[in-house]
Symmetry: C2
Subunit: 424 residues, 2 copies
């Protein structure tokens, strides 16, 4: 008996789109055996059919210029959206879902923004809408959270989920590069774009934290719920001080539960060298999870790149093929849902790194200590870099931190240089 | 409408058996939402029903002394085998499968030995047989390999899959403990049993490598196909030398593909401090995977313990509940199958660490170099610890290594102290 075939149409043949047909061909035997189906790309939507002719010929698919050629084709089972951007991709995916096609996407911006609308539509249409590649490229973190950790109470997700900034921070830590040197190096290697805003300002990581929070806690949040701070203002001086105290700087996207509310943020933070995340270097990504039953676990791999990201897209295609094979209709990618609840400043707790300029020298140390005491923040370590001082604290609420920062602002003789969270 | 119920019987209420009802209760809401079913423990098989009475009362299940009370009960949907050992467990699982119960097991020895028989029977009976907890406790590595990495060509699996030995090696590396001190410490902390043979001699890790090789390559191997070397003979001296060369010693279970054949072994090895596995310390486990599409990925977490292991058992129960809910019959845990093929000594390649006693001092250095040259093994680094010498090599075949060891044996003036593989 000949195997059934899952016919796929790809929207966009960029970096990732290029990898999908390559993997389907390279891993053909394994895929056919595990799914008991053939997965073939039948069509690809491109703006200019002339440009991608060679690729289409190599992998035997048809190039089409109009989305109608795909959504109106009854033979197409799955649409893979790889064009990026938000509005156009949203329209295409809705057309595909309305035509009862399964959809796979790698588009984090779109899913972080319109994920709920699209998953609801997919459920109504009884089709699958999967997007493993949208977070941390080659790391199968979403499927792991929704299957293997579905029996666990997650309370902390710390992610190094942006390869560009992690590459830059690695250069700054290991080679003493300045921010500008690190950015130039990342751009030369193709990790950073000419306009690096989305990466260095933490927006890319924040989109991923929206999706991770959904899978970890079942809560739909938006970019507006996330405090976002990029690495643009990070000083070499703080990087060096951190190193001498056995910490590295990482751009951490964190999503943590305090009581029943969550706190989600992206910011540079000090990570202790003994922490698993401290060794995630260069363009690699990792997601570190704390949960009630398993305790600590971490998932490490490449966060971007043509083949790793395409591998996640193909894993989604395999999951769809298995559903089709077993006649299972429209299982949502993430079935866990809870009402959104954000933690308050009195609930959120962190350890902090404070770096001050002390204008009048030593005698003000005592005053600084009393300001911390007044805010009820306990000092763990105080290091004198005359005329500067660095203070590491024990965990204290965000409310107390804000009170303290206010009191420092109104006290003459101190100037706050920087403040960061610490992860031990 | 009231939810359907999945009724579970647990065989054995030891460490892991204790954790399963606890998690099912703690995570009840989340589990019911993601599966749209209730999962309840209805019965537990124990030798002495008096001993576990309090536990049974707390979680409202019935204690039974006879397996027939479970397999002949038409209300039981799933049997969770947690009694350990091989023969008795095999009989119970076969009875359960023959009675068309789904089965979950955490029994690596059994699965590494009779896995094929049991999976074949499960397939014939159209039921599920899952065993995520059998390898690396709380790390969801098997489901990840069989789902997310199902579209990838895996060619290397390196595992730190035994927590006892990893705890001991961490003590030896970080605190300069001897083997005996490290063993006593592990026993005191409850990580090592009074008779530590299975752990320190690498047998526990080897069982896990049987199962990992099946999931990575689809190949069914047995313990006899694995070269097994434990940590009993590891010298503090080698640990210190490795440290000075920026390596740590880890008990590595490796399963690697050379051309189409695989080489599977368990042995202490030098792992470079920059390698992700080097930072996996104490009783933690990790599995590091190299594959054609994703490249490098790693999965880190607790390898044992009541709750982490029980969390994997419950993840299996959830997968079964979802199959039942969607009326999907008997999907094998791992659908990838290939004929077993072992790599030959000429195909297997490694970098090596050699440690010799040189009886006649310096003048024999040249002779040593010429013996390496004769065996066509390239020297990367040669370090003089007069009257001893350590040589790190570039990659060479196992065949050349064996030739070299033979020539050393027959050459007067040299004594081999140790030889280990290196993972950079």
């Amino acid at each position: 008996m000949s195997k059934r075939t899952l016919k796929v149409a790809v929207l966009g043949l960029g970096t990732v789109g290029f990898g999908v047909p390559a993997i389907l061909q390279e891993q053909k035997d394994k895929i056919e055996q595990t799914t008991e189906m053939k997965i073939v790309i039948a069509k690809a939507l491109v703006r200019d059919v002339e440009v991608k002719k060679a690729l289409a010929q190599k992998y035997h698919f048809q190039l089409v210029p109009d989305i109608k050629d795909i959504v109106q084709d009854p033979e197409i089972d799955v649409v893979v959206e790889l064009i990026g951007g938000i509005e156009q991709a949203r329209v295409f995916i809705k057309e595909a879902l309305n035509a009862c096609k399964h959809v796979v996407s790698a588009n984090k911006d779109l899913i972080a923004t319109y994920g709920e609308e699209l998953t609801t539509l997919a459920k109504k249409q009884n089709v699958n809408f999967y997007y493993e590649a949208a977070v941390a490229g080659g790391i199968p973190i979403l499927r792991t959270l929704s299957s293997s950790l579905s029996a666990d109470g997650i309370y902390e997700v710390l992610g190094i989920v942006n390869g560009t900034t992690n590459h830059m921070l690695t250069q700054m830590m290991q080679k003493g590069a300045t921010y500008d040197e690190a950015l130039t190096s990342a751009q030369k290697l193709g990790f950073a774009e000419a306009n690096p805003t989305n990466d260095v300002d933490g927006i890319d990581a924040a989109y991923k934290m929206v999706i991770l929070s959904d899978f970890a806690y079942g809560m739909k949040i938006s970019l507006d719920d996330i405090k976002i701070q990029g690495i643009r203002m990070l000083q070499s001086q703080d990087v060096k001080i951190a190193d001498s105290l056995d910490y590295v700087f990482k751009l951490i996207g964190y999503s943590r539960k305090f009581d029943e509310g969550i706190d989600v943020a992206v910011a540079p933070a000090l990570v202790h060298k003994n922490h698993q995340l401290a060794n995630v270097n260069n363009e690699m990504n990792a997601v570190f999870v704390k949960s009630a039953e398993i305790g600590e676990s971490m998932y490490y791999g490449p966060g971007a790149g043509s083949l790793p990201t395409a591998a996640s897209v193909v894993a989604d295609l395999i999951a769809i093929a298995q559903n089709v094979q077993h006649e299972v209709l429209g299982i949502p990618f993430n079935t866990y849902k809870k009402a959104k609840k954000l933690a308050t400043d009195s609930q959120i707790r962190n350890q902090y790194y404070f770096h001050f300029e002390v204008l009048d020298g030593k005698k003000q140390f005592e005053q600084l200590k009393s300001l911390f005491a007044k805010a009820q923040i306990k000092i763990k370590q105080m290091i004198d870099y005359d005329p500067q001082v660095v203070v590491l604290t024990y965990a204290a609420s965000a409310k107390r931190k804000k009170q303290f920062l206010k009191s420092i602002e109104s006290t003459p003789g101190f100037e706050l240089i920087s403040v960061y969270n610490i992860f031990d």
